[in-house]
Amino acid sequence: MTTFTLQLRVKQSEGALVRVLGVTRRRRFDLLHLTANATEDGNFLDIKMTVKADRAEHTLVRQIEKLEDVSRVEILGPTKTEHARAI
């Protein structure tokens, strides 16, 4: 299981945040934390989100990068990898 944090800047447009969250869910990444703030000029939304999945982070990052309204994607900090434990 991999946990990592993404910092995104997206254009303030119809459904921009929903699009990012939709891709995250469809690509089977679980959301652990999310903040979203409009930039001062109101033109963009800065999104910081922490997700976990048993898939490689690039499989999400590249899908988010494809969204028309996304202008920047960065992976913040080191990726945390845990081995699955039996419950």
Partner: protein, 550 residues
């Protein structure tokens, strides 16, 4: 000028010549404006068919297909067609009417959040919130639909915006979509892998045709002389009769194609995405191969299979850079010998019509420029296996979504694009019923689409799986109460005839092709006819099942 009038003028400016659609309350201003336009509107009988016809038009021409529907159920009926275009990367712009902005969010009559509903199945979408946005949105929609990896774009237009009178100006800003630049060290590394390889295979996908890279691809194959396997959408990237074409790979692929992939030491994937139907069990797919992956979409590279050399960018440039002669003669001979050993055998027992043989004969007689729009199921795989294609745009098939009911509307779209072409819809008794109403569209516009309806009185592919993988526990696959398709077709003004015996196939095909207008051949086949070979679910492509004795 009203918003709706501007929309229609902007569509004209984008080069739109034809729209497939169905009117209704919220889209009425646009239909009113269409009366004064040179754009031809094609009235289908169900909105799903409008989206699928636009998809078929786009696949056959490479241009953006356009469909239109009203709000609510009109819009939701488009969704399957939009998803179909999304899964196969087809450039389509779908325009939906929406209730007035003042009513949005109030559960108004025929209000549905089509923007939200379609989010997972569009490349992008727009809700027009103000009239001022309309010029930019229309222009952007077309740019996005056709750029990079193509896909469907939705424009949801509220009725009050459509009726707003304003001074609209065309949005003529030309944005260049920056294709990633070729990375020279990667090209050099790819050529190094190609030269080291003793047994390379090219895995050709739908991206080749969509990128307009057929010429470059063929030069690349001519130079390297690497054997080629194709996905469903990649068929025709080189003519299927080409010496080096080993046929389709995957679940219903040829033995020559699957064996070559499983044995190869280098797999050069061109515009394909390692779909599960193509790869079989992924961790057993091409187990000895290094991978060079060429694609315009970075998200597809190393998504399912790690690429040793990713080559992201326009296929035309990449393929040209990779064309070089290789020393692989023993491997080529091995592949060509396997192709000969496993060539199709059309000498099947029995007197009933043998669908693969029917299609082979039809392909031989229909000419090398005919367009085939297939539905989904066993007949779809038989078309892929036995029809010859010189170009992927001749083979319209719902690959990713697998949409039963795709074939007839797609054939309609293709026939409008090429009025003089021979367009054939191959369907099944399950699939045809999904958009049967479009026979009325064929009649209305007198489109000379030739329909071959294979009828096994069953949902054949599901029945085949239940036979092979569910211990013959047949669940809801019986269609023995089908209507009389000949009478149904005739009632809609489509000449029709039945073919019941193999000895009648030759004359039936002559009759089908000689008919000047639309025609439906109702072809009865054995209820238990199966598609062979088959790779079972979860199995490796090395484990192909042959026909089993009953």
């Amino acid at each position: 000028m009203k918003g709706a009038q501007f929309l229609v003028k902007a569509l004209e400016r984008e080069g739109v010549e034809i729209i497939f659609g169905y009117p209704g309350g919220a889209i009425m201003p646009v239909y009113d404006a269409l009366l004064d336009s040179k754009i031809r509107h094609i009235l289908v009988r169900h909105e799903q068919a409008a989206a699928l016809a636009a998809d078929g038009y786009a696949r056959a021409t490479g241009r953006v297909g356009v469909c239109m529907a009203t709000s609510g159920p009109g819009a939701t009926n488009l969704v399957t067609g939009i998803a179909n275009a999304y899964m196969d990367s087809v450039p389509v712009v779908a325009i939906t009417g929406q209730v007035a902005t003042s009513l949005m969010g109030t559960d108004a009559f025929q209000e549905v959040d089509i923007f939200g509903i379609t989010l997972p199945v569009v490349k992008h979408s727009f809700l027009v919130n103000t009239a001022a946005e309309l010029p930019r949105i229309v222009h952007e929609a077309f740019r996005i639909a056709r750029s990079g990896r193509p896909g469907p774009v939705l424009i949801d237009l509220p009725k009050d915006i459509a009726n707003t009178i304003a001074d609209f100006e065309f949005h003529d800003v030309t944005e260049t979509s920056a294709a990633p630049e070729l990375h020279d060290p990667s090209i050099a590394r790819a050529i190094e892998l190609m030269r080291e390889s003793r047994s390379p295979v090219v895995y050709a996908g739908g991206g080749i045709g969509m990128a307009g890279a057929l010429a470059e691809f063929r030069k690349f194959i001519d130079a390297t002389r690497i054997p080629v396997v194709a996905t469903l959408k990649g068929l025709g990237s080189i003519p299927t009769t080409h010496e080096l074409a080993l046929g389709m790979m995957g679940m219903h692929g040829t033995k020559a194609a699957n064996h070559a992939v499983q044995a190869c030491d280098l797999l050069i994937c061109v515009g394909a995405r390692f779909d599960d139907r193509a790869t079989g069990r992924l961790n057993a797919f091409a187990p000895h191969a290094k991978v060079i992956h060429l694609d315009v979409d970075p998200a597809e590279v190393s998504k399912l299979r790690r690429a040793d050399v990713p080559l992201i960018g326009n296929l035309r440039a990449t393929l040209s850079a990779l064309a070089c002669p290789l020393d692989i003669e023993p491997w080529r001979r091995e592949c060509l010998a396997a192709k000969e050993t496993h060539a199709w055998d059309y000498d099947a027992p029995g007197s009933e019509v043998y669908a693969p043989g029917f299609l082979k004969t039809l392909s031989d007689r229909a000419g090398k420029h005919c367009i085939v729009a297939s539905d989904v199921g066993q007949h779809q795989m038989w078309v892929a296996q036995h029809f010859h294609f010189n170009n992927p745009a001749q083979h319209l098939s719902s690959g990713g979504l697998g949409t039963m009911g795709f074939g007839l509307p797609a054939a309609i779209g293709a026939q409008f694009a090429f009025p003089d072409a021979c367009v054939i819809n191959v369907s099944g008794d399950g699939s045809i019923m999904m958009n049967l109403q479009e026979l009325a569209t064929l009649r209305r516009y007198d489109l000379p689409v030739k329909i071959v309806l294979f009828d096994n009185r069953a949902l054949g592919m599901v029945r085949q799986w239940q036979e092979l993988f569910h211990d013959k526990r047949y669940s809801e696959v019986d269609l023995s109460d089908n209507p009389d398709f000949v009478r149904v077709a005739e009632s809609m003004g489509i000449p029709s005839f039945r073919v019941e015996n193999r000895r009648d196939v030759s004359s039936a095909i002559d009759r089908l092709l000689a008919e000047p207008g639309p025609v439906l051949a109702h072809v009865l086949i054995h209820q238990e006819a199966n598609v062979w070979p088959i790779v079972g679910p979860g199995k490796s492509n090395s484990e192909m099942l042959d026909e089993v004795a009953r």
